[in-house]
């Protein structure tokens, strides 16, 4: 029934145009501005729902396709479509944005219209990234994403925001320039000159070409994920960003890196991916183990969660790139490769919920005490029992407790990586210990114990707005943890098709 409507365009442009309107309405009536922003974000979410409800899980083909010529000379098209890989990430984007708007309700008093508008525009642009099937269109959305995020950190950020924004911008921009070169190069290699990403999938490329292209993509995506050693921008960006900025950054922007590997690197350069998989696997395992230890000693809650994000994203890239080794393992045969890919996908969605929730938890405390230092807290449970319950719940999810979504992806990737090599699984599984150690140690020092000081003694428990935000995310984490089957079903056909595609050498 929705087949005739341009759902994807609506999901992209509704928040962008809505955001412009919010921006234009100015700050004279902040309450009305906030309400408008909230209504737009909810409408966007509702508009995006048919992507799930009318999704055909039996096919790996692109769905909800929209195609129109944009810049005819270069055959740049306005080409949109989703498959089982991008659709869950789009729903995640529209879902999380609602909570970002709600979370900034009373907290943001300085230029609320611009704040809300930035997030709405950001939302549309991110949906654009996930649904663009034309490489140039993708690139435009990809770069456009930086601008609102840049403003969010730069305008509403902390005292060190200038340093953080520069670092954030240069890192990500540095990465994407190489990607642009690769995209244009491939354009020149197509017979008729096309920027179609799907066309790139079938483009014949030699090994050397593939390796260059792979490395160019890697620079862009590794920075976004972020992978060790190009991760140091993330803790700084998080620390300076306002709560909403951190949420979007962790929940969605990092996923764009992971998405890029699935949409570009693996299918376009399968042979190079096969050649260089050891590199990605090594970096992923370093992320899990090394970053796990680094997270342990952080004193700033946001930094700790930022490092935890890097470690969790290590599982995503690990799950994606063990594919070739599993295929090469005579004991494991093909089985296991899909498990790894789907595990990485589930981990992305789950991390979207959990990291968002944890940053919101820190935001709740920060709004009251204006400190993110673990040492400034202690015994929060005595004044904020409800909040403490949420905090412990999300901490446990972050530590991968079965029954929460945090477990699903890790479990799948550990199971899959065992098929590639015992030691991959061994190193990956250290997250069971490290993840629990850094998360629960933080919880111990912040939530439990005696009331540490007067500020903690004066804390008020969460209000209904905060309860709604944390409760919704808790529900999402729980549902996905207890019944991940629907998510898997949605992506199954696309992942299987991807695997079939990359199993065929382009050489």
């Amino acid at each position: 029934m929705f087949a005739d409507l341009p759902i994807l365009s609506l999901t992209i442009w509704l928040p962008i145009i809505g955001g412009m309107l919010v921006l234009a309405s100015g700050n004279k009536a902040p309450e009305a501005t906030r309400r408008t922003a909230l209504i737009i974000s909810i409408m966007t979410f509702l508009v995006s729902l048919p992507l799930y409800s009318s999704f055909d899980t039996t096919t790996a083909d692109m769905q909800f396709v929209e195609k129109a010529m944009w810049i005819e000379v270069f055959k740049i098209e306005y080409f949109l479509g989703v498959d089982g890989i991008s659709m869950p990430l789009i729903i995640l984007t529209t879902f999380i944005t609602i909570f970002v708007i709600v979370a900034g309700w009373e907290v943001i008093q300085y230029r609320p219209a611009e704040y809300m508008a930035s997030f709405l525009i950001m939302e549309g642009v991110m949906v654009g990234v996930f649904s663009a099937l034309d490489a140039m269109l993708f690139y435009v959305f990809w770069e456009a994403m930086l601008i609102p995020m840049f403003l969010i950190i730069g305008v509403w950020g902390g005292p060190n925001r200038v340093y953080a924004t520069i670092k954030f911008f240069l890192y990500t921009f540095f990465g994407s320039v190489f990607m642009l070169v690769a995209l244009i190069y491939m354009y020149t290699q197509t017979d008729t000159g096309s920027f179609s990403i799907l066309g790139y999938h079938d483009l014949k490329l030699g090994l050397t070409e593939q390796i260059f292209i792979f490395v160019a993509f890697l620079m862009a995506f590794a920075v976004k994920v972020p992978m060790w050693p190009v991760h140091t921008w993330l803790p700084d960006a998080h620390v300076e960003a306002p709560t909403g900025g951190s949420v979007i950054l962790a929940a969605i922007m990092l996923k764009i890196g992971g998405y890029g590997f699935l949409r570009f690197s693996l299918p376009i350069t399968p042979d190079a991916s096969n050649h260089l998989d050891w590199l990605i696997i090594t970096l992923s395992l370093i992320a899990v183990v090394y970053i796990g230890f680094v997270a342990l000693i952080q004193q700033d809650m946001k930094k700790l969660i930022a490092y935890s994000s890097i470690a969790h994203m290590g599982f995503v890239t690990l799950g994606f790139f063990i594919v070739f080794m599993i295929a090469a393992n005579p004991d494991a045969k093909e089985a296991g490769a899909i498990l790894g890919l789907e595990g990485g996908m589930v981990q992305m969605v789950s991390h979207g919920f959990i990291s968002a929730a944890l940053f919101l938890c820190v935001g709740v405390l920060y709004d009251r005490v204006h400190s993110r230092q673990i040492g400034d807290y202690g015994g929060v449970v005595h004044t904020m029992p409800l909040f403490a319950g949420f905090m412990v719940f999300f901490a446990m999810s972050n530590a991968g407790l079965p029954g929460t979504s945090g477990f699903v992806g890790e479990f799948m990737v550990i199971l899959a990586s065992f098929r590639a090599d015992f030691w991959f699984a061994f190193l990956g599984a250290t997250t069971l210990i490290l993840g629990a150690a850094y998360t629960l140690w933080m919880v111990k020092r912040v939530v439990f114990g005696e009331v540490a000081n007067d500020k903690v003694a004066a804390l008020q428990d969460i209000n209904s707005r905060e309860f709604f935000v944390l409760g919704s995310l808790a529900l999402a984490v729980l549902v996905l943890g207890l019944w991940p089957a629907p998510l898997i079903e949605v992506m199954d056909a696309s992942i299987a098709n991807l695997l079939k595609h990359i199993a065929v050498s382009k050489l």
């Binding site: 342990l296 449970v381 004044t383 407790l401 029954g403 015992f422 210990i433 111990k444 114990g449 005696e450």
Partner: protein, 663 residues
């Protein structure tokens, strides 16, 4: 049929959810009613299932409830396997849990005093406690009723979560929140091995379902895999040891035993339920359930035997020097868990499960009795301050005596049958390590009797209590406390006598356990004895009984008749005494190596790796050199780098647009 099993699992969960989320509204009475009836229903239905297996009217059930997910052809489901082993575990868990719910009504009655004034966390602590113990019952049932490894792992971690919440229940106490973090992390070390074991199973059998896996195992018995370079390992050994590492965490076996004594920081009812009767036996249950795997790896069995025996003897010795009433019982639990593991290592799975069951009753009893004493002593737990409590607390005294006799294996008591069966089974075992294990469990009998009656005499007999104020207020605990003691005392005494024949010698557990003929130690034992009376008369001809009596008498002589002997012995064996009091320095070593070591490693990686090398040298370094280069060429500057960056993007867009228009 499925509805019945669902009801057993969900009744405690519903109670937990109601008491947890609406504790405010339903109040304290509402909370303990809703949770106790949930667990009560579950207990009755479990006993009904068990009776079906006893009368033979019930067949094992194996079915799935719903599909968690299917990925890559790997079916992950939530489902139940209910056979004799499961039914027995379900009944033990729910019965003990029910007793503890009742007991908690009395024990937690004045919990407000444990919270600082004005603490909002303290306002509903009573309801929350009931919610947690019901949630625990649900998790434990999910664990024992599972028919696949995924759900096993879910239950495994869920009981760990509840244990974490309950050890740290009095979260204002620094020792409690230290202990719960420690417990969770040490358990996670075990789970680390466990999940790798599950991954290995999934890889080589292509399934997580027990029945599928068990079917595939004999075909894999000779498979060799390479882990360290080219050295070959038997696949079964690798899987079994990995899984057993999980059991070592949950069932607190050396060297992962360090969390259990500290877990005594939690309220006593959960020490009884979780850290004595049920959760810590999950490892024992798991190994027994996996007997079709373990039977194919003698190396793994030997490993279990040695670890179990070491735990049994060395933690028992620590029990002799402890002065905290709960810690004595905790070390006793460690030691008894070692006994169960020894049984498993000797392939006497039925004996291990049998001891698990008898131990659940008498150890829960001993803990609850200790809790009763603690209530009487106004939360003073030092046994040196006690004494002469017998006349003030008769119910507690007599039930404690029965529990202690069961623990030391006094003939006729339930512990006698289970412990004797283990000792005899090890005697018949011929796998490597059996000799050491036999020695350990036999000496362990003396040690058990010594620490048990040392505590018993110090607490209940002699003069005391030391504190006059305590003496004046000392009285028997209320009925909600003593009734569970009596309820648990009955099976502590009798259950062994009435069930030993069926469980150990008549194969009542049926196909739930699998033993290869060459490992059948219980079968060998059945050649000489076949019933409870024979076991008792046989017992009088064996060494263990006299060792137990010797321990009892020694305790009486040293701690009742001539207290000065204890000091003399302490002085004579000073190094040993210190080693025992320091618990062999495990805690210190772990604290230094793991806690301190990982913090230092983390700091090094962060400061040297992230900040110095990546940020300072590479990022800022290249930024600086670009900056120096730019200094020379730039003639327009705003001072902000990001302006340049924006300019770059805008430039790019302009360039593209220009291209388009020009073309």
């Amino acid at each position: 049929m499925e509805i019945l099993f669902l009801a057993i699992v969900l009744a405690p969960l519903i109670g937990a959810v109601i008491a947890g989320f609406w504790g405010d509204r339903i109040g304290r009475v509402g909370a303990h009613w809703v949770t106790s009836s949930g667990v009560g229903i579950s207990a009755l239905l479990s006993l009904y299932v068990l009776s079906g297996f006893i009368t033979g009217s019930r067949e094992p059930f194996n079915g799935s409830v719903y599909t968690w997910m299917v990925s890559d052809g790997l079916h992950m489901e939530v489902g139940f396997l209910v056979d004799q082993l499961t039914a027995l575990m379900m009944s033990v868990v729910t019965f003990v849990s029910f007793c503890i719910h009742i007991y908690t009504i009395g024990y937690m009655a004045d919990d407000e005093h444990n919270w600082p004034e004005g603490s909002l966390a303290g306002t509903n602590s009573y309801q929350r406690f009931f919610s947690y113990i019901s949630l625990f019952t649900f998790s434990m049932l999910m664990l024992v009723m599972s028919n696949n490894f995924l759900q096993l792992f879910f239950g495994w971690e869920a009981v760990g979560l509840v244990s974490y919440l309950l050890i740290g229940f009095w979260s204002v106490r620094p020792t409690a929140i230290f202990a719960n973090l420690k417990a969770f992390l040490v358990n996670r070390v075990g789970d680390f091995g466990f999940i790798l074991g599950i991954a290995a199973i999934a890889m080589y059998t292509g399934s997580l379902d027990y029945s599928e896996v068990f079917k595939a195992i004999p075909g894999l018995a000779d498979t060799q895999i390479q882990i360290f370079g080219d050295s070959s390992w038997s696949l079964m050994t690798v899987i079994c040891i990995l899984l057993f590492i999980g059991a070592m965490g949950k069932s607190a076996q050396v060297p992962l035993h360090v969390w259990l004594p500290d877990s005594m920081e939690g309220p006593t009812p959960i020490s009884a339920l979780i850290h004595a009767a049920t959760m810590v036996t999950a490892g024992v249950f798991m190994v027994a359930r996996m007997s079709p795997l373990y039977e194919f790896s003698e190396t793994a069995l030997s490993f279990i035997l040695v670890i179990g025996a070491t735990t049994a003897i060395f933690t028992g010795l620590i029990g002799i020097v402890q002065n905290d009433i709960k810690r004595v019982v905790a070390y006793s639990t460690l030691s008894q868990l070692g006994y169960m593991m020894v049984a498993l290592g000797a392939s006497a799975y039925a004996a291990g499960i049998f001891h698990l069951m008898t131990h659940a009753f008498f150890k829960a009893l001993l803990f609850l009795a200790a809790g009763s004493v603690i209530i009487g002593m106004h939360h003073d737990q030092d046994i040196r301050n006690m004494g002469g409590i017998k006349k003030y607390m008769p119910w507690t005294y007599w039930t404690s005596l029965l529990g202690s006799l069961a623990l030391i294996g006094f003939p006729g008591f339930s512990g006698f049958f289970s412990k004797d069966a283990i000792i005899e089974a090890v005697h018949h075992s011929s796998i490597p390590g059996a000799g050491y294990a036999y020695l350990a469990v036999v000496i362990g009998v003396f040690v058990t009797a010594l620490y048990s009656f040392r505590m018993f005499f110090l607490v209940f007999h002699g003069k005391g209590p030391r504190d006059e104020h305590a003496k004046a207020h000392l009285h028997e605990s209320p009925k909600v406390v003593t009734v569970p003691l009596v309820l648990l005392a009955i099976p502590s005494v009798f259950i062994g006598y009435f069930t030993v024949k069926a469980v150990l010698f008549e194969g009542w557990l049926g196909d739930a356990l699998f033993v290869l003929p060459q490992h059948d130690t219980l079968g060998a034992l059945a050649q000489s004895v076949s019933g409870p009376n024979e076991m008792i008369s046989h017992g009088f001809h064996g060494l263990p009984l006299y060792l137990a009596l010797a321990g009892l008498v020694t305790a009486g002589v040293i701690y009742l008749a001539f207290p000065s002997i204890a000091d003399t012995i302490k002085k004579l064996f000073k190094p040993i005494n210190i080693a025992l009091e320091k618990k062999y320095w495990f805690d210190e070593a772990y604290q230094f190596l793991f806690a301190g070591g990982s913090r230092n490693l983390g700091r090094f990686l962060w400061e040297t790796g992230d900040r110095l090398i990546i940020d300072n040298v590479i990022i800022n370094g290249s930024a600086r050199s670009i900056g120096r280069f730019a200094d020379r060429i730039r003639n327009v500057q705003t001072g902000y780098l990001y302006h340049y960056a924006i300019a770059m993007i805008l430039g790019l867009l302009l360039l593209l647009t220009w291209f388009v228009i020009a073309a």
